[in-house]
Symmetry: D2
Subunit: 484 residues, 4 copies
Amino acid sequence: VDAGYIKQGEQARTVREKQVRALLANRKLPPEGWDEQAIELFLSDLAVMDSNNFEGNVGVGEREARMWSGLARMWSGLVARRHYRLGHGIGRSGDVQAVQPKAAGSSLLLKLCTLLVLDALKLAGLTETKACLCLPVATGMAHVLTFLHLRSLRPMARFVVWPRIDQKTCLKSILSSGLIPLVVENKFEGHELRTDMDGIVAAIAQAGGAENVLCILSTSSCFAPRAPDRLEELARLCQREGIPHVVNNAYGVQCKASCKLLSRAMRVGRVDAFIQSMDKNFMVPVGGAVVAGADEQWMLALAKSYPGRASIAPIMDLFVTLLSMGKKGWTRLLKEREENFLVLKEGLVKLAKETSTGDGTEAEVVQEEVLETPHNPISMALTLKTFRMDDKQGYTYFGSMLFNRNISGPRVVDPAKKEKFGGFEFPGYGSHCNLYPVPYLTVACSVGMSRDEIKCFLERLRKCIGELRKKQRRSTHSFSSSSE
Amino acid sequence: VDAGYIKQGEQARTVREKQVRALLANRKLPPEGWDEQAIELFLSDLAVMDSNNFEGNVGVGEREARMWSGLARMWSGLVARRHYRLGHGIGRSGDVQAVQPKAAGSSLLLKLCTLLVLDALKLAGLTETKACLCLPVATGMAHVLTFLHLRSLRPMARFVVWPRIDQKTCLKSILSSGLIPLVVENKFEGHELRTDMDGIVAAIAQAGGAENVLCILSTSSCFAPRAPDRLEELARLCQREGIPHVVNNAYGVQCKASCKLLSRAMRVGRVDAFIQSMDKNFMVPVGGAVVAGADEQWMLALAKSYPGRASIAPIMDLFVTLLSMGKKGWTRLLKEREENFLVLKEGLVKLAKETSTGDGTEAEVVQEEVLETPHNPISMALTLKTFRMDDKQGYTYFGSMLFNRNISGPRVVDPAKKEKFGGFEFPGYGSHCNLYPVPYLTVACSVGMSRDEIKCFLERLRKCIGELRKKQRRSTHSFSSSSE
Amino acid sequence: VDAGYIKQGEQARTVREKQVRALLANRKLPPEGWDEQAIELFLSDLAVMDSNNFEGNVGVGEREARMWSGLARMWSGLVARRHYRLGHGIGRSGDVQAVQPKAAGSSLLLKLCTLLVLDALKLAGLTETKACLCLPVATGMAHVLTFLHLRSLRPMARFVVWPRIDQKTCLKSILSSGLIPLVVENKFEGHELRTDMDGIVAAIAQAGGAENVLCILSTSSCFAPRAPDRLEELARLCQREGIPHVVNNAYGVQCKASCKLLSRAMRVGRVDAFIQSMDKNFMVPVGGAVVAGADEQWMLALAKSYPGRASIAPIMDLFVTLLSMGKKGWTRLLKEREENFLVLKEGLVKLAKETSTGDGTEAEVVQEEVLETPHNPISMALTLKTFRMDDKQGYTYFGSMLFNRNISGPRVVDPAKKEKFGGFEFPGYGSHCNLYPVPYLTVACSVGMSRDEIKCFLERLRKCIGELRKKQRRSTHSFSSSSE
Amino acid sequence: VDAGYIKQGEQARTVREKQVRALLANRKLPPEGWDEQAIELFLSDLAVMDSNNFEGNVGVGEREARMWSGLARMWSGLVARRHYRLGHGIGRSGDVQAVQPKAAGSSLLLKLCTLLVLDALKLAGLTETKACLCLPVATGMAHVLTFLHLRSLRPMARFVVWPRIDQKTCLKSILSSGLIPLVVENKFEGHELRTDMDGIVAAIAQAGGAENVLCILSTSSCFAPRAPDRLEELARLCQREGIPHVVNNAYGVQCKASCKLLSRAMRVGRVDAFIQSMDKNFMVPVGGAVVAGADEQWMLALAKSYPGRASIAPIMDLFVTLLSMGKKGWTRLLKEREENFLVLKEGLVKLAKETSTGDGTEAEVVQEEVLETPHNPISMALTLKTFRMDDKQGYTYFGSMLFNRNISGPRVVDPAKKEKFGGFEFPGYGSHCNLYPVPYLTVACSVGMSRDEIKCFLERLRKCIGELRKKQRRSTHSFSSSSE
């Protein structure tokens, strides 16, 4: 082969290598996303740095990453390939972020992923973030790890003050950690449910004082008609009282308003850590969470409290996804979500007022309303007041209708539902309060949604309403919203 | 295309479907391993059952598994493909084993994997096992989850009685759970270190009685010269005293003797749960653990204490691997390990006595010995008594020599090493006792090792000894083992 | 797992199966493209129908498709996977389209691909097409096979009458078939080069009459300033004289005007077969061609003249690509190309008139013109008359400048270039005539190009012109186009 | 990440790069096979050298390899990935081995593959080979290309002298090339059929002398009871008479005796080219052939007669397979085939003499014999003389029984079968002669077969014989072999 062509080809390789070097130097999202080829090459390069992939490696008594070293011992090639032969996991016995000497490639991947996430958080508006920890456990377990770490710092504090949010994982994470939740009911403001600051203060007192409170666990992203918590007031209170403050920011990264709220809270008061789901914000499979905060030392200490190694899989997924997004892709994704939120809300408001569900019969008007939830920038709710509640074909049936039509996101909330859970009884479970005055359908506008999906959702929703109307006589049961 | 050929092709498909149906019916390892094609087809079939892969699915507000539904929204195809489009993870908010309605395929995969693991454990000799839980966290975190669950059952018990084993993850998992370890030093029996039963009893007393002991944490697989704990005596004691008994069976599944010992303990006394690493026993990447026991209800309760969902990745790796092994592959693998243990031991004993390291110089004899550790069926140790300790070129240097020659499994243990860790000071750290009388090289014979590797290890070891001998004058420091 | 969830999952599988059944029933491009998962599942289903993938197959003495049957014999898994385990190729000894009894899946794939291509050709405007043959050889070899087949029908005819097109493969395919080309020079019409019908008639006479002419080989897609041949006149002539007519439709499928021209020719006269490249029209890798025509029997006879089996790889690529496009994707792709052609032409016309190349120096005007080639709907040409020809930094250097700037499509044509080839001498080689009056840059607008690429091309082109202007004093050499 | 770990990782990368550099320097099979990771990395490196994968490439008007440059234009990612993004194919318009400037990577791959094949041929015993050409067409088309090339050298020669072999592709390749086969019947020598040298001489005379003979087409690998042709005599004759000699070495590479025979012929006489199947010798999918010979110039000229580009797929398959085999794997594979041949023959001889087919009934003896075919080192035949021929349940039925039991290699030959083909009538078609005295089952021992397969084949064969015996009374038709 002519040397000239080889030279040109080598120039091409050099371009790829520059891409890698730029990543290592900048430690930020690349301006443009990488293509799959570039990503796979880089993963292969990292894999070659792990000792299990060294030519001629002899891992006598080595107990990890054996699966693929040689052909004869391979169980199974399929597994090896899908992990790009990175099998050592992350961390060492004492620290989930520690460099693993046998796995320089895996360690580097984790380090880079952490830096990319940090950049992504800042770009999303979480400007006060100084450090973060990528954990291969979902948000629930990330809460547990955070609580256990706080417990090592405040061994006597047994209580978690917790403005009620009806999401089981959250409560379970408190209970699983051996802690006692002090549930603070929310307050109505119009249609919206908001943090009861007086209730918070009362709960601290109930705990016997700040020193017995492990932390306040607040929420920055939730389903309407609940609003995100009053993070600024809570942060100020925590600072004043010396109480740690953990924010459950489950799917808040994708939402500018949530990020701003959280950032303001960090500026004016105390936020020890905020926890976000990888899958809910970054379009990766379920299984990872990011704990972030303003204090690098705090985060290092948390990493050091993790016992042993862990799976690299969720980290690799996030790393690959962030590389393929690049800064451009990530910011576009966020921007589109903001736009989609408006489109979805507009569509739902329009639907609520419609006088026909499209099947020609004048009678099948929708006649519902979209709840006014100005503080919730990610979710909205449509009342279901015109549906009977005392019937198998009522609104509880409505949810399954949607699910069977492949509408898998929205949930129908029945204010009459009770639930016992972990020794606690929650009247009105699902609605974040003891008695929401009306049943409703709550829906969020998540990252990655397309306009076509919104359109399709509204169409199927309209159709379901029409079908259900036919099944039941219109209920006489009426509802006056508190805003009227 | 001729109908006859189509028919024959369809017969072929039927054969594949029979394979799947047999798996669903038998709920055991298939007699023969499946080939990759069959496994990938089955994974695809499972993926199609998950709602994110439904044709026409509209996940408005759906926050999980968005990554791949349609082309426009895909971040990233690479991630979607490597997980075979199974993105929902496992579990529901309240239970890591619960069926996820949106993810029938993922749920079925978890269920099947659990059944295959149960079968694999029984085949390995863990005959008393009745239930197990596949967790996408490594052994350290699996210990934490077990401790937290025990704590919900025994909220007042703060102490873990723990026969010393110098493995950091183990201690860290006690500390991270907010518990207090009561370390019981081991007793010498010849070269071997074994459980001090009197020390155990004393530790319980020190805790203020059985009711204050959360559990005894014993170990069934460890590096020589430590022996696995006296599980039968411990199990009897636990039953008598009403103390929970957790066994760290990290890499014990692969070893018949360890499994038998544990099974006997379960028959004669109390074992609440035993915990094993997925990667150390089943040749999958780091990141999963199996908690198993004799009580189905206990295991169900543990599953229910897990907060939220979790990654399916380690489960899928194990599922794929067990399917590709089949019963035949799995039992062969175990059998080969038993044989390899003997081969390795024989080789090491022979090496220890050699009068030349092969470089022609008569002086370079090995003159060491293999420690007598009859109770350790998985690991063995070679003394390094003839190497100087006061020298950079001594035995501490020996470990890095091996590592640089791609011998990544064995460890050199320096009895003079001290370590402070979690507030505890461990003299002789690494040797499981305060002062082992001699430095040594410890090596395990793990599942998946090949004869070629053993041969190659022995050759490189011999070469390293020879090289080091050249670098230093032979030490006059001599050692009399306690057995002499 | 709850039966309800399983049921829902099975419904999902049913949807997928319906998709397959619809494909088998409709035998056309699916309305919407399939996603990758659906395509891969279908490929796996087809693979299972091939005998090498039968469970328990024993291919003693079987000489094909051995590579993957079992693990022990696998050379190599990587190869098996990339072909989805379809290894039998296509065809039987006597017929490249024949069903292979050992490979029902491969045979079905070929059959379906042929039907999809037929549909795609019709959708593109080739409405008279009745049959087609997908060949795993590129256009050159497809021409050879067509010629050899024609020769079996007209054993005495040795001449191919061929309106000159400066594309080597075309001439080589005539020569390799052992035939004698009679080259007919093109005629100028303004800037354009068009078929000289008188020259064609003269060439037939030169051959000693129609019975000595194997076929006329015309061209329906070419680089400007050559125009596609006068297909209608040629088709009428062929019908009148009883001469077979083969059309080299290399990249004409992507262009509506070319397809219409060819269809008209088929209606008014004789076209035995037209040959198109897979890669140039359908965005697949190089290596396949489609021979199509209006006579099913003719096409069957051609298939039967193929000796032996052949690779399935190019067929599979096309099949996968057409499935993933669907009717919607394919028609959109064609429509975008038509639009892009106008955008590119407009941009080039604008560039030609520009008074500055953007670097601020007024002197660097472009001062060229886009040749008027109204009959070429796929390519266009920009004169390079203001560049010196007698210089290493002249227009011949221009081409390498573009290539080095990663502009790999366009070609600079030097009318003074001579080439000897297969015993023929071609003055003005590359320009389709003996002396084109001006050097030029010719560029095509192909399927799959994006607006960004067009923009980027125009920018880099402008920059190259500017740079070259700086390197040389402006030439005084001027040019009067024939249209002036 | 600590610089030391990075350094170690980089050492690992260096090892990989050394592997590549050694390949480029040695131009031979690597001593040991490469693992998949190394192969995939190298393919990716090659792909990066192709211009379609250059970052920022703008292929305006580029008509090839468009499929993957950017995400927006990708049809389809699946196709791009399975070809490792190498889409340019091989060759240029005038030469299938020419370097393609836009595809330095693809060109290099072809070059390397050719060198590896050359080495593999020599290792197999084809010691006189000086050059070879890897073609992405199967053996039939490779014969056509060879004939067409010979025709350009001997334009007047229309006849191919051809010792009869009943394999359709072979005859079809002569006919498709527009040539006239002169079939020379074989001669009996005991059970064996061998070349009739007098018949060859007579055929040359029939053609009107050597100058009218395009070539003699001989065969070096075939099914018993035909023997490979008398290559030495034929080569001497060709040299004496000045007639080109082409050897159809379809699956002869895998067999030492065939290779030796061919090498001797090359030493003592004339062999212009010999043609072998990729799939039948190297365990890759159907679709490629290798033309080889002793004259580099001859091979270069053949390459130059190929019109246009071609698919790289079969070349890549072979390249990957040879890299993964390495010299060690390839020679082991060949050795195992030699051993297996003996095992299979022994097993068949034993079976033929068996007095029971295993179902307990004494009557069901096999009572057949293995034909004596000492010159065929790759295939053997079992008589079926004790089966009735006048019956639907006779030996013709036997073949379908085997096929239905997944025995897909062996063929039952009915000496009474006639076939008309390409204007020729062949009595006894399948048996390579007009009337073989006995029906038989012919079976080859191919490369890649396992001992288990042989065992399984013999068992199923025995079972089929037993079953068929039950279905029919034993035939009285008896046979005396010519050797008796």
